[in-house]
């Protein structure tokens, strides 16, 4: 599996003409963990969603290349896309409260995702769902399978969503702020779990986050986005030595436990970054 994005542009119509939310983004991904960081509105979620063609209908997408394992996403039929979405590529969202179906049990939702791909019986599907819940380290998978989303905590709900995305054995996992709504201890567990699954199954992972320290710990590579562009791409471990003034600004304005700061640095945005 290989993801290739070259010169991706996503625009939306506005009263002032077309406004570009993503401007000429290029990146490639294999079986590795790529982090995309940036502030709200930087285009990081749009870039990842373009891969699954899950953009708002008004979005206008152009690219020199937008490929998932050789399939041209721009030209693919809706039928082809359905073979990718939720099957070969899964999307994990931030808030399980909104992303899960509130009137289906966790087990039924996972079973549905499994059956969609594997075409087994309802009984087999439910058994698979319970196995998947066990795989995401849920201690009492039978009980959780029978529970509705509102009966689950945030961390459990997030695990249910991960289990659902894993059901069809995807090759790519896109995780959009998967842990920002969770406590630090649960966050660490979920990340460990994803790490484990990615290395065991040889999946590719795109982790979208605004949390630089987290991404630098967890990912192999990091792309830093600002105003619709990738301003810097570097090995995750090198993040402390980032060169671009915007990345430096993001790092400098973080309060840290290890380095007390009297006053936090405030980012002064250079108009040249927009160019």
């Amino acid at each position: 599996m290989k993801v290739e994005i070259a010169n991706l542009t996503i625009s939306f119509p506005s009263p002032q003409g077309m406004s570009q939310a993503v401007r000429g983004v290029s990146m490639t991904l294999g079986a590795e963990k790529l982090g995309i960081v940036g502030e709200s509105g930087s285009g990081k979620s749009l870039t990842a969603r373009a891969l699954l063609r899950l953009l708002p209908p008004a979005a206008v997408v152009t690219a020199d290349r937008l490929q998932f394992d050789g399939i041209d996403i721009l030209k693919a039929s809706e039928r082809d896309m359905r073979a990718i979405r939720g099957k070969r590529a899964g999307l994990i969202l931030q808030d399980p409260k909104y992303a899960l179906n509130p009137i289906m049990t966790a087990g039924a939702q996972i079973a549905e995702a499994w059956r969609n791909q594997k075409k087994g019986s309802a009984k087999e599907a439910m058994q698979a769902a319970i196995d998947l819940l066990a795989q995401v380290q849920i201690r009492d998978p039978k009980r959780v399978a029978a529970a509705y989303p509102h009966e689950l905590s945030g961390g459990m709900g997030q695990r249910v969503m991960i289990a659902m995305m894993l059901a069809p054995d995807p090759e790519l996992l896109i995780a959009d702020e998967p842990t920002s709504a969770l406590d630090a201890s649960v966050q660490a567990e979920i990340l460990r779990l994803m790490e484990d699954l990615v290395s065991r199954r040889g999946m590719g992972l795109i982790l979208i986050s605004h949390d630089l320290p987290l991404v630098s710990h967890f990912c192999d590579r990091v792309a830093v986005m600002y105003a619709g562009r990738v301003v810097e791409e570097l090995a995750a471990g090198e993040l402390v030595r980032a060169q671009h003034a915007y990345t430096r600004g993001l790092l400098d304005c973080l309060p840290t436990l290890s380095h007390p700061k009297g006053r936090l640095a405030v980012m002064s945005r250079d108009p040249a970054w927009l160019a």
Binding site: S40, A184, S185, L239, G249, P255, L264, M267
Partner: protein, 245 residues
């Protein structure tokens, strides 16, 4: 300035806060950290008067707090919430949001006070007649802070005031809170799950777990790792930071 002794809050049969005691000096800041469900926000809500079903003893500026509070209390103690989108009325302009506390407390000189408040939180005068959805997240949180300041309070209760903001905006809001404290001698109680944010603003903090305050320590001790309770050590270990190579 603030003293909380043996505070207990029950929801039905569940005791969410189980005997919490702490004190905050005038013009100082006290931080409360903990995971979701630890009871940290419940402490703040009991202190603020949003929940009147508690037992224990709480005083602010020497006055014991009764379960229900008078108007003067709400003038002197104000609260800022995590999500300014949820705490500002979507159909009210900034001007309306800021003038309401003045009306409630019968304070005059409305026009000057609003202009001054906007300047104080570094919002442009043009923001005055905007609606919340026309502002960015950071601007909305500034409006929420400005509104809390309208009644000239002595105490601000801050519930995750920067958790919904980008880090660059978080830095601006934290700096703003520090400046306001300097200028107005405000006393803060801040709740957050982010240890670095708490340690930045609060010289003293308490760590909550399962409704109890399991440890109280200084920000300095937290930074240096001089912690006594295992839960504090866990939280500290989980607070990811960039490693300097």
């Amino acid at each position: 300035m603030i003293s909380v002794q043996e505070l207990r809050v029950k929801f039905g049969t569940v005791e969410a806060v189980r005997g919490v005691t702490f004190a905050v000096g005038e013009g100082s800041s006290f931080g409360i950290v903990g995971e979701s469900g630890s009871g940290k926000s419940t402490v703040l809500r009991a202190l603020s008067g949003l929940n009147d079903d508690w037992t224990g003893r709480m005083t602010i500026a020497g006055h014991a707090l009764a379960p229900s509070r008078g108007r003067d209390f709400f003038r002197r103690v104000q609260m800022v919430f995590q999500d300014p989108y949820g705490s500002l009325h979507p159909r009210q302009t900034v001007d309306r949001a800021l003038s309401e506390p003045l009306e409630v407390h019968g304070m005059g000189d409305v026009d000057r006070r609003i202009r001054q408040a906007l300047a104080e939180v570094a919002l442009p005068p043009s923001a005055r007649f905007r609606y919340p959805h026309q502002l960015s997240g950071g601007q909305r949180q500034r409006v929420a802070i400005a509104r809390a300041l309208m009644s000239e309070p002595e105490v601000l209760l801050l519930d995750e005031p920067t958790s919904a903001l980008d880090v660059s905006v978080q830095a601006e809001v934290l700096n703003l809170l520090a400046d306001l404290q300097d200028r107005r001698k405000l006393t803060y109680v801040m709740v957050s799950h982010n240890l670095a944010v708490i340690a930045h603003l609060c010289p003293q903090l308490g760590v909550m777990q399962g409704g109890e305050m399991v440890e109280m320590l200084s920000a300095e001790d937290l930074r240096a790792g001089r912690v006594r309770h295992p839960h504090t050590a866990d939280l500290r270990r989980l607070s990811t930071e960039l490693e300097e190579a």
